[in-house]
């Protein structure tokens, strides 16, 4: 039986397979540009052939082989220079056919290239989305709200540096691996938070970024299953994403965690997240992502907000602080302190933090002051938070809270 694929089917194959195909061809051809062009051309051929011939049994392998043949054809056809001739001849020497079967590390190598410390953080994100996740430049530009030309230039510049400076396609040595892996995890988390943040603004397309970050997180866990922080990050993203549908109400007002309708949380993501948290914590090498995932797991474990195990959450924040000693973590910890030891003690800790430009700082302070009956100060803090808020749902929520006090 022949399956006749639609344009949507082919688009899905592109999304699922192009990252792997590009990674294989970067190894075979030694150039990102050649690999991307070849894969693109192979998909153009597929769009013509598959609707007639049917979907091949292994579309990814079909694309890789076609792309490799196209690349060699092109090099041969266009080779007017010695270097190209040599390259094409080397690839065509029958005694040493290039291996186009996937090696398990192909994509991992390319992730480390995309997130190389010699490239800018913006380039890390753009290259990872384009070369690993298979997004097109206009999609990436739209997701990060920058003009397409700017994003295209960013990608071209980064690819040029990789080629000119010879940034290697290699999994780093054991000595460098932990630091390099941390930056890969940071890139995935940035992609995720960018998408998550957008779920409280009006830019709906950016929610795709959450799905992409989770997909990349799964890929990374497959590639380095022995790294508990990679598992922790995936768990954290799943447990955060599970609550996405309940973060804003029909009127476009932010709903804080205690007021969210827990029956609408994504049960599959929560179950998977909990399972992953247990799995990584068993390794007993805690890190910032694992502990944050554990905190998210405790929250999602409570059938209603009143049953939240705040004592455990506070204990987890105490564990998180040495891994991530930032004022934002201290602020989140103070919320747990308020639940366990009361708002007065929490306010003392909040007042030590230097976070004047941060909306949640003023919102948290306002709520603590309200609970202490210091209404006038609470209103002033809500005013400050409202003045700083840029996302509409958050501002509407803060305005409602303040109006309840007045």
């Amino acid at each position: 039986m022949t399956v006749t694929p639609t344009a949507d089917d082919i688009a899905r194959v592109f999304r699922d397979e192009s990252g792997r195909c590009i990674a294989i061809l970067v190894r075979v051809l030694g150039s990102i540009d050649l690999a991307e062009d070849a894969v693109q051309e192979a998909f153009v051929t597929a769009a013509q052939k598959w609707p007639v011939d049917g979907l091949p049994p292994n579309p990814g392998a079909w694309i890789t082989t076609t792309a490799r043949n196209r690349a060699i054809d092109r090099l041969r056809r266009e080779s007017t220079r010695d270097a190209r001739q040599t390259e094409a001849t080397a690839m065509l020497t029958p005694s040493e056919p290039p291996d186009v079967g996937p090696l398990p590390d192909d994509q991992l190598r390319l992730i480390f290239t995309c997130c190389h410390p010699a490239l800018s953080p913006e380039a890390h994100i753009a290259l990872t989305l384009r070369l690993i996740a298979g997004l097109q430049t206009p999609e990436i530009a739209q997701a990060f709200l920058v003009p397409e030309a700017t994003m295209a230039q960013r990608i071209v510049r980064a690819k040029k540096k990789i080629a000119a400076a010879k940034i290697p396609y290699r999994v780093p040595d054991a000595a460098d691996l932990p630091a390099r892996l941390r930056s890969v995890l940071a890139v995935l988390y940035l992609i995720f938070t960018e998408g998550h943040r957008s779920s409280t603004s009006d830019a709906l397309v950016r929610e795709d970024l959450c799905a992409e970050a989770i997909r990349l997180g799964r890929l990374l866990c497959d590639l380095v299953p022995e790294v508990p922080e990679a598992v922790g990050l995936l768990a954290l993203m799943l447990l955060t994403d599970a609550r996405r549908a309940t973060r804003v109400d029909a009127a476009g007002v932010l709903i804080p965690l205690p007021d969210q309708d827990r029956s609408l949380w994504d049960g599959d993501e929560i179950a998977e997240g909990h399972d992953l948290v247990r799995r990584c914590l068993r390794r007993n090498q805690p890190g910032a992502y694992q502990v944050q995932a554990a905190i998210a797991a405790v929250h999602t474990d409570a059938s209603d907000a009143a049953r939240t195990d705040w004592v455990q959450i506070l204990a987890l924040y105490d564990q998180l602080v040495p891994h991530a000693p930032t004022p934002v973590v201290q602020l989140n910890r103070a919320v747990a302190v308020a639940e366990v030891r009361g708002p007065a003690e929490a306010l003392q800790e909040v007042d030590l933090l230097d976070l004047d430009g941060y909306v949640p700082y003023h919102a948290t302070r306002a709520d603590l002051l309200r609970r202490l009956g210091r209404t006038g100060e609470a209103v002033a803090s809500f005013d400050r938070a409202i003045a700083l808020a840029t996302a509409d749902p958050e501002r509407r929520y803060l305005e409602r809270r303040r109006s309840e006090l007045a």
């Binding site: 150039s31 540009d33 050649l34 220079r81 010695d82 270097a83 190209r84 040599t86 390259e87 190389h116 010699a118 040029k160 080629a163 000119a164 400076a165 010879k166 940034i167 290697p168 290699r170 780093p172």
Partner: protein, 124 residues
């Protein structure tokens, strides 16, 4: 193998380095140079006089104009450089880290064009 230029950035007007520290840094740099040669990474290296000793020559116009340098007033200047051979950027960065530790200043790494199979060549 590719060639990279490793150049040493000094900050103008930084407090003068004490003599003993200067001596230690010179010795460490000398040792690093010896290591580069022993490892086969060495192509060339040199230390430069102060930018105030610079002269700029411009023969792009009808007349050759000679001016007291440097070319651009900057807060930093190039104090010296190495040209090294390395298989890839990671290897060049590792050499730069050792050079920076030896001469106690930040080191910038830049690749040389290396002939027709260079990226620039392929794009053309």
């Amino acid at each position: 193998m590719s060639q990279y230029l490793l150049f040493v950035h000094y900050v103008d007007g930084a407090p003068a380095t004490p003599a003993d520290e200067m001596k230690a840094s010179m010795e460490a740099t000398g040792r690093f140079n010896d290591e580069l040669q022993a490892e086969g990474a060495w192509v060339f290296a040199g230390g430069l006089h102060e930018p105030s000793t610079s002269t700029v020559v411009d023969a792009t116009g009808a007349e050759t104009i000679t001016t007291d340098g440097p070319f651009a007033e900057a807060k930093e200047h190039i104090g010296g450089f190495w040209i090294v051979e390395a298989p890839d950027l990671d290897a060049a960065l590792a050499l730069a880290a050792r050079g920076s530790a030896a001469c106690r200043a930040p080191v910038e790494v830049r690749p040389f064009h290396d002939g027709p199979d260079d990226a620039e060549g392929l794009e053309a």
